[in-house]
């Protein structure tokens, strides 16, 4: 029961720590990474919610944290005025959602990923033995990334460290294009996470989780729509 929680928080850790790009102002803020949760903090039974609910919240914290890292690049990477407003909204919205998810996990006695914890950098250096153990105990979803070269395992839609570095090198229109391309994929990953939650029997039924997951779905669909529109303006093509 504890492994998936280790997994999702581990992913949360790597998405930031795995960034090999040169440090820039955009990355100085939340580049501290998630703390490894104590895997045994929840001996008692879960009442009214499920393991999948916990995984969803823990995983989404990491997912959001990467979105914030990306969005924080906008002002320093020559993003268009339109995109900067969008990035500001992503930062303000997802920061509050991370707080809310952490509160929910804390209130329920679950491990709370902390995207700002500096010690979580160590998660990058998880041993291959631990890694292998995780592989054998977890069902890998085909939508999840696995980049063995850097031992990254990411939630759906998340950027690899190489992609994050690529984005960090881009400027101006090229930054806009790359940001939108990656963030659309990132948001679609969140939709996948919501779908996966609701596909799990018994999951997503507690009102907080149901309400939050459906609002992630609605909000991120609306934002995908906006990003596709902005991308069309840049590329002159209707995204397919």
């Amino acid at each position: 029961m504890t492994h998936p929680r280790v997994f999702s928080t581990f992913a949360a850790a790597l998405l930031l720590g795995g960034c090999a790009a040169p440090r820039t102002p955009a990355q100085t803020a939340p580049t501290r990474t998630a703390q490894a949760p104590a895997a045994t903090t929840k001996p008692q039974a879960r009442v009214g919610y499920t393991e999948a609910d916990v995984e969803f919240m823990q995983g989404m914290i990491g997912h959001h944290a990467q979105a914030i890292v990306m969005a924080k690049m906008c002002p320093s990477h020559g993003a268009s005025a339109q995109l900067r407003v969008f990035c500001d909204k992503v930062i303000r919205s997802q920061r509050d959602e991370i707080d809310m998810m952490q509160t929910w996990l804390r209130d329920h006695g679950e491990a709370v990923p902390d995207p700002d914890d500096p010690h979580a950098m160590h998660m990058m250096h998880m041993s291959m033995a631990e890694h292998a153990k995780m592989d054998s105990t977890m069902k890998m979803d085909s939508t999840m990334h696995m980049d063995m070269s850097s031992h990254d395992m990411l939630m759906p839609g998340m950027l690899t460290s190489e992609q994050l570095a690529e984005l960090d090198r881009a400027r101006g229109t090229e930054f806009d294009r790359l940001f939108l391309t990656y963030m659309i994929r990132h948001h679609e990953g969140a939709l996948t996470m919501v779908a996966k939650l609701f596909d799990t029997p018994g999951a997503g039924q507690t009102p907080e989780i149901f309400g939050y997951a459906t609002s992630v779905d609605a909000d991120q669909r609306a934002e995908i729509d906006r990003m596709q529109r902005m991308l069309t303006t840049i590329t002159g093509r209707t995204p397919q």
């Binding site: 407003v85 909204k89 029997p201 309400g211 909000d219 669909r221 609306a222």
Partner: protein, 625 residues
């Protein structure tokens, strides 16, 4: 379009300081603070209607407002009030409170519907029926436990409709949830109860839908009084086709997709058990994304998809959050995620989109309210979904609030924003939420819930300059941790404002006059009586011929310098004299005033209002026989 940079909308303060009331003393304290005194501070109100410039519009949340710094507490929070009097407060019944009190959403109160002296209050775990015959002491008639996952209620005669959305909801109302992927026990959609016997509501139908019902809206059949339609907006994932035949999760270009549509249920009132879905209205077809903008306050409208162009596979709204219908003008406002829609509902079974508006300042189009004339629509943005704190000092004033649109020839044009202007804490969920018009003749005034941002009464008569008229706010439930609470909604119903408090229960308020609202205007609002009221099915308001209606217009002309002061004071004197008369003498006196007003209109600063007043005086003359 108003530019954000030129605006400043901090309210001049003329209110009392905050009150801290012990829980047990809430009601008693209200009863003793009935003066609603606008004491202290700058701008003390004299009690006499006088020329009053509109308060400036805020450019940021105020950190010096009386609503800032209120003491936290579930039952003993501090509060600040202006232009209102808290008449009564009742807590949730124990069966809808849950063990350990108010944390979480499991027992959250939600929306309201009204019939006679009854208030129907939704709850995530069921619903409550309150008798407010004595507004100072609401009495619980019935509480029913049956998990809803929001529980949006509507009432139509003896039929009570409840939205059900959470995937663990059951046909048998059991609280154990559902563990199976496919289950015939699941009930997401609209439940219909017969409440002929208030003490024994009887479920008569479960209308199952593919995505459940987050909200729903009643639309009476314009021709058949025996039929009402229900528009269903659901935001859950699409159910398995094995569980409910016909449910298909597919992109917009799939003809059978259960997304991108509004279900229309037809309910024969005499046989609610025969209610069924009669249309899947595809009001999202051929919709292109709205243009985005930079730092400007609004966007260009979305485009119609060019003929032959490929549909995009993903994105765009696939459901409305809520639809407000205004049958008297045959229109509906759809608040649909990334869009606000204007919808033609003249044929209620076949709603058709007329226009879609977008605005990148809006994160989530949540609800719509028409003004009574049908010339404006106020859309809300529920940025953060209602459980997050979006009214802190550094949250943008144009995000998570209201946007006002003018409506001309079935076309919406965006005007100003309004957001509750007092900075709230990080442990108070706060964003624009549900409300309704307050029927004050000659003005567009609305009461609205802002969750833990409190209740706000706003004037949007000038669509470019909305402002606050009255408010009530409590401190957070918890100073250290965000506990979802506050006003789901505030609605005007037959003379009072009824607030549905998520964690704390039900509150009833009265308006008290201040410099922006006169006793005559309040009295005129109280003349409007509805037999039943579902806020998302807006009734056309009409006022009886009465002196408070006439004097409301006069007060407005004084307040806004709409007519020369010499004339308004002369008319006030004449009205007093006319009121002292009776029968034909009163009629003649009133007709004389009306004729003079016709002449006054020429050259008056607010000629339209002078003419409206002349019409109201004539109506009163005709009624004085």
């Amino acid at each position: 379009m108003t530019s954000a940079g030129t605006r400043s909308r901090r309210l001049a303060r003329f209110t009392t300081g905050s009150l801290t009331l012990a829980a047990s003393a809430i009601v008693a304290a209200c009863a003793t603070s009935s003066s609603g005194s606008m004491s202290s501070a700058p701008g003390t109100w004299s009690g006499v209607v006088a020329p009053t410039p509109l308060p400036p519009m805020a450019t940021a949340a105020s950190t010096t407002d009386p609503r800032v710094g209120l003491k936290a507490g579930l039952t003993d929070a501090g509060s600040a009030i202006s232009g209102l009097r808290l008449v009564s407060h009742v807590s949730k019944p124990a069966m809808l409170t849950g063990e350990g009190g108010a944390r979480g959403l499991t027992f959250a109160n939600s929306d309201l519907a009204f019939r006679g002296n009854l208030v129907f209050q939704g709850n995530f775990s069921g619903f409550q029926i309150w008798d407010i015959s004595n507004p100072a002491s609401p009495a619980l008639k019935k509480a029913v436990v049956c998990a809803t996952g929001q529980g949006d209620p509507s009432i139509y005669g003896n039929l009570l409709f409840l939205s059900s959305e959470s995937t663990g909801n059951r046909t048998d109302c059991g609280t154990q949830g559902i563990q199976d992927r496919v289950s015939m026990d699941r009930m997401v959609g609209v439940r219909i109860y017969d409440i002929s016997d208030i003490n024994n509501p009887r479920k008569v139908a479960d209308i199952q839908t593919c995505r459940g019902s987050h909200t729903h809206t009643l639309v009476p059949d314009p021709n058949d009084p025996g039929v009402v339609y229900v528009y269903v907006s659901g935001s859950a994932g699409v159910r398995s086709g094995e569980e409910l035949a016909g449910c298909v999760d597919a992109p917009i270009d799939s003809a059978n997709t259960s997304r991108f549509r509004v279900e229309v249920i037809k309910v024969p009132l005499a046989h609610p058990e025969q209610a069924q879905i009669v249309n899947y209205a595809r009001i999202f077809s051929d919709l292109e994304a709205p243009h985005a903008h930079g730092a400007a306050p609004s966007d260009e409208p979305p485009r119609q998809r060019p003929a032959g162009a490929a549909q995009r596979p993903r994105g765009g709204p696939n459901q409305c959050h809520d639809i407000t219908v205004y049958p008297a003008i045959g229109l509906a406002g759809g608040a649909c995620g990334g869009y606000g829609l204007l919808i033609d509902i003249k044929d209620p079974v076949n709603p058709k989109r007329l226009q879609a508006v977008g605005d990148t300042n809006f994160a989530f189009w949540h609800s719509a309210t028409f003004n009574n004339d049908g010339t404006k629509v106020l859309f809300t943005d529920e940025w953060g979904g209602g459980t997050l704190p979006k009214c802190r000092a550094d949250d943008p004033i144009d995000w998570g609030g209201d946007a006002i649109f003018t409506l001309t020839n079935d076309h919406l044009t965006q005007r100003a924003y309004f957001k509750m202007p007092a900075a709230q804490t990080k442990t108070e969920n706060c964003v624009a939420h549900n409300g309704s018009l307050i029927p004050i003749p000659g003005r567009d005034i609305m009461v609205q819930g802002w969750y833990q941002g409190g209740l706000d009464v706003i004037d949007f008569t000038d669509p470019n300059h909305p402002y606050e008229v009255a408010y009530f706010d409590r401190g957070p439930v918890d100073a250290n941790s965000l506990v979802t609470a506050g006003y789901w909604a505030g609605y005007w119903y037959n003379g009072h404002i009824i607030g549905s408090e998520i964690a704390r229960g039900l509150d009833i308020f009265e308006l008290v006059p201040n410099r922006y609202l006169s006793q005559n205007e309040i009295d005129a609002a109280k003349l409007v009586h509805l037999d039943q009221f579902n806020p998302q099915s807006q009734p056309k308001i009409t006022w009886p011929a009465a002196f408070p209606v006439v004097r409301s217009y006069l007060d407005q002309l004084v307040r806004g310098n709409g007519l020369a002061a010499a004339r308004t004071s002369a008319i006030a004197t004449q009205l007093n004299a006319a009121e002292a008369l009776s029968g034909g003498a009163r009629r003649d006196a009133l007709n004389t005033i009306a004729t003079q007003l016709d002449a006054d209109a020429n050259g008056a600063a607010d000629a339209a209002r002078v003419r409206k007043m002349a019409g109201a005086v004539r109506d009163l003359a005709n009624a004085s026989m």
